[in-house]
Amino acid sequence: MRKSRGLSRRQFLYRSASGTLAATSAVLAGTAGWLVSPTRAVAADGVPRRGGTLVASWGGLEPQALFVPGGGGSSPFMTSTKILERLLKIDEKLAFQPVLATDVRASADFRTYTVSLRKNVLWHDGKPFTADDVVYNVQEHWKPIAAGVALKSLKRVSATDAHTVKLEFSSPVPEFFFKSILAGQYQVVVPKHLYAGKDIITNPLNNTPIGTGPWKYGQWVRGSHVAYTRNEQYWNSAQPYPEKLIIRWWGDPASRSAALETGELQVAFSNPVPARDIDRLVKTGKIAVDTKGYENDAWTVTAEFNQRREHVKRREVRQAILHAIDRKFIIDTIYFGRGKPAVSPIFRTNSLFFTDDVPKYPFDPAKANALLDAAGLPRKNGSRFSVNLVAAAWFEENAKLGQYLKQALQDIGITVKLDSLDRATALKRIYSDYDYDIAVSNFTAPLELVPVVTQFFTTDGIVKGAAFRNATGYSNPAMDALVDKLTVETDNAKRQKLAHEFARLAATDVPLVPLVEMESFTLTRTNVRSATTSANVQGDALADVWLAS
C-alpha cells in the first residue's frame, strides 16, 4: 500500500515537472488542499491509535541548543519544531497547509498581506497566543535574524485585531514566495511574553523552549536524548497520538542501524545509516525506507569555480571541465546509487520550478580535451595548467568526490592540488578567504528559489564571510536582472517561466554546478504510520504520526 502510493506520487512529480502548467499553478497559488480536513493524512492507513512512545533520530548529532534563533542547522531544526510552530506548513503534495495561521490573503497589488491567526491557541505556560506574538517575531526575530534578506522589502507590520496581522511591503511580493517564508525552516513563532526585552540569541529559554506545538519540553539529558510530553491543550485536540516523544542521538551510523534493527529506534530522518546498509535493513522485514518528505530541503553536492582565478574564470574552460566528469560513476560509486545527475540548480524534486530544457555536459573526455585545445590551453609536458581543488570534507562523500575529480581532471591534462579540509577550515578557505580554484561543497535548497538558490548567482549574493552564498564571485547583469524580476513577479505562470530561464542561464555560465541531486531518505519501523506528511519532514511537528500495534 505504502509503496504504490509512493510510486503514483513519483509519477505525479515527473508529470508536473514536464510541464503540465495548469496543475502546477494551482499548487503554486497555494490554494490546493486549503480546505482538506486534518485527518486526511491518515485516511489511507486506518484510524490513528493513541498511545505508545515514539523514539526518533536523524543522521546527525545532538544540537547545540534545542532552539537556535536563525536556525542553527538541521539538528535544532528538528528539536525545536516539535514545540515551536510556524504559521504554515508545506505538505507532502507541495501545497500549503494552515498551522498557526488559518488564512493568508494578498491584496490586489501584492504589497499587503493579511494573516488571520488561529483562535484559542495557548502557549505551553497557559498564556493565549495572539497577533502581538506574531508582530514581535516579525520585527525582532524573523527580519533581523531568521529570514535573512527575504523580508528586505518589509515596511511595516501591525496587529489589526487580536488575531489578524497585516504586513506591508515596499514592492510586490509573490504569494508563493511569501507563504514559503511563513512555512520556512527558521520562521518558528516564539512567545513574546517570555522573549521581549531580552537578547533572543542567548536567552536560556532556548534550551527549554515554550511554544504552541503538539509536544511540550520534558527533559534534556545532554549527550543522550530529549524527552517530550503530550500537549494536552493542543489546538488540534485529537493530536498528538503517542504519549511520549523521544529524540535520541547516536554518534555512530552503525549503532544507529543496530538500534533500528532492535527497535530501540523507530523513526530516523535524513540519511540515518550509510546507503549501503539500507537494503540489508529492509530485508529484515521490520524496517521500511521512504524517500518522500525532502522536497523542500533537497541536497546537492556542488563544484564551485572561483571567478577571481586564472583559467577557471573562463566559461569555456568550466564547460570543458564539466565534460570530463562522469556523474553516473560518482553516483554509483560514491553514493551507492542513491542520487541523480543534477542538470541545474533547480532539482527534479522541485516539481514546481524544475525544467529539463537546459544545456547539459555529458561525460566526454575527448570533447573536453578538444575544447581546452580550442581555448588555447594545450598540454605542455603533459599538463595544461594546474588548479587548487578544495574539498569540504564535512561529508565523507565530499572527500571521495575530491579524489575522483583530481583523477578526472588529470585525465584531461589539468594538474590538481587537492586539499580535503575539516569544516571550519573549509568554510574559511571557500567562503571567507576565497582561497581556491575549484571547491567541492554542498547546499540544500527549498522549493522557493529566492533568495537561497538565487543568491549563489547574483551580485548581491557576494558577501565575504557568509557561507553558502555566492563565493565564486560570479557577477552577470543579465542574471541580476532575471532574479530581480523573479523576486517581484506575482503571476505564477510567468514566475515559472522566469525560473526556467534562470536554470538555463545558470547551466550555461556554470560558475557553480550541482553535480548530484543527493537522495535523502527516512527509515521507519513498519508499525510507524504517517511519519512523512510534509515537504521537509525533519522539521515536521510529528503531530500526525502514530504507532500501529
Binding site: G73, Y186, I201, L427
Partner: protein, 330 residues
C-alpha cells in the same frame, strides 16, 4: 612529609596550568577557521550586520591578547567562560557530560587492571608455554583491533543477535526506577547493564597493554636476588609469586595507570560515539571541529588538573608499594 609533597605539587601545578592555557589558546587560534565561521554557516547567516553583531556578542571583536587575558582572569575566578554554542556556562557543559565519562573510564580501567594483570602474571609464570602464547596473541589482537570495530562486533553479537544488552546509551530512557534505596539500586543495575559492552570494549584495549607490561615486569623481577632468596627459603611457589614478585612487578603498571587516568577526558571518543555514551569525548570533538575554544580550553584546564591529581596519587601509591621510594622522596 606527605603533606609537604602535596603542597609542593600543588604549587608546581599553578604555572603548569597557566602554560596549558596560554599554549592551547595559541594553538587553537592558529588553526584556520573560527567559531563565528562555523556558527554563521550553520545558521545560514548572510546579513553582514548580524555577523558583526555576533562577533561582538562572542567577544571576537577584541584583540587576541585581550581575549586571552580575559580568559585567564576568569579561570582565576574559577569561571571557565561561556559556551555560546551550547547556550550554557562551560562548567555546566562539562559537568553535564563528565560523570558519564568518569564512570566509563573507571569501569574500563578496573577491567583492564584485573584482566591485564592476571593475564600478565599467568603468561609470566607459564613463560614459553601455550598459555603464554595464548595470552600474547590475545593481547596483540585486543590492542590491534580498532575499538570502533570491536564495539560494533559486540553490539551485533550481544544486542542485535542475542538481545542481552542495549545498543547504546547510559540508561533506559523513560524508565521509572521508583524512589529511595530500591530506586537507586535499580538505577545502578540499569547503568551497569548499559555499561557492560562499552567498558569491556575499552577495557580490553587497555588490558592488552597491562598484560604485556606485567609479563615483562614479572620476568624481570623473577631474575632478582630476593626472589631467589625467597625460593631458597623454601617458600611455596604461590607465596613467592604473590608476595615477592607481583608486588614489585606492579610498579610499571601503576605508572601506566597514572598516565592513563590523565587521558580519561579525551581517550574514549570513539567508544563513546559507538555506544552513544553521553560522555565528554563527543563534546570535545565537536568543540574542536567548531573551534569552540572556551569549551576546548575548559576541558584542557580540567584534564591537566586531573593529570596532576593522578600523578600525585601515583606517587603516593609508589610509596606504599616500595618503601625505598619514600626515603628517596624525602
Amino acid at each position: 612529609m606527605v603533606t609537604r609533597l602535596l603542597l609542593r605539587r600543588v604549587l608546581q601545578a599553578v604555572p603548569l596550568l597557566l602554560g596549558v592555557i596560554v599554549m592551547n589558546f595559541c594553538l587553537i587560534q592558529s588553526v584556520p577557521g573560527t567559531l563565528l565561521d562555523v556558527m554563521t554557516a550553520e545558521q545560514q547567516v548572510t546579513d553582514p550586520a548580524l555577523i558583526e553583531r555576533l562577533r561582538v556578542t562572542y567577544g571576537m571583536d577584541k584583540p587576541l591578547w585581550q581575549q586571552l587575558l580575559h580568559y585567564i582572569n576568569s579561570v582565576v575566578h574559577l569561571d571557565l567562560g561561556y559556551s555560546y554554542r551550547h547556550n550554557l556556562p562551560v562548567f555546566d557543559v562539562i559537568m553535564a557530560h563528565l560523570p558519564a565519562t568518569l564512570v566509563l573510564m573507571l569501569a574500563s580501567l578496573l577491567i583492564a587492571v584485573i584482566v591485564g594483570v592476571s593475564a600478565g602474571v599467568i603468561a609470566a609464570v607459564n613463560v614459553n608455554t601455550w598459555r603464554d602464547t595464548l595470552v600474547s596473541v590475545a593481547a596483540v589482537a585486543c590492542f590491534a583491533a580498532p575499538s570502533f570495530w570491536l564495539g560494533i562486533m559486540l553490539i551485533i553479537l550481544f544486542s542485535v543477535k542475542l538481545g542481552w544488552f542495549p545498543v547504546g546509551g547510559m540508561t533506559t530512557i523513560g524508565m521509572d526506577y521508583g524512589t529511595g534505596f530500591t530506586g537507586a539500586w535499580h538505577a545502578s543495575l540499569d547503568v551497569l547493564h548499559h555499561l557492560a559492552l562499552p567498558a569491556v570494549t575499552l577495557g580490553l584495549f587497555y588490558a592488552a597493554t597491562y598484560a604485556r607490561v606485567m609479563r615483562a615486569s614479572m620476568l624481570e623481577v623473577a631474575r632478582q636476588d630476593h626472589v631467589r632468596t625467597a625460593q631458597a627459603k623454601g617458600l611455596t611457589r604461590r607465596a613467592v609469586i604473590t608476595r615477592h614478585m607481583v608486588r614489585n612487578a606492579m610498579l610499571p603498571v601503576v605508572t601506566l595507570l597514572g598516565l592513563q587516568l590523565g587521558t580519561v577526558l579525551g581517550g574514549s571518543i570513539v567508544v563513546e560515539a559507538v555506544f552513544s555514551w553521553p560522555g565528554i569525548g563527543g563534546v570535545l570533538f565537536d568543540s574542536v571541529m567548531s573551534r569552540n575554544y572556551p569549551v576546548v580550553l575548559g576541558l584542557l584546564v580540567l584534564s591537566s588538573a586531573l593529570v596532576i591529581v593522578a600523578n600525585i596519587a601515583v606517587d603516593l601509591i609508589y610509596t606504599r608499594l616500595d618503601p625505598r621510594i619514600r626515603t628517596h622522596a624525602s
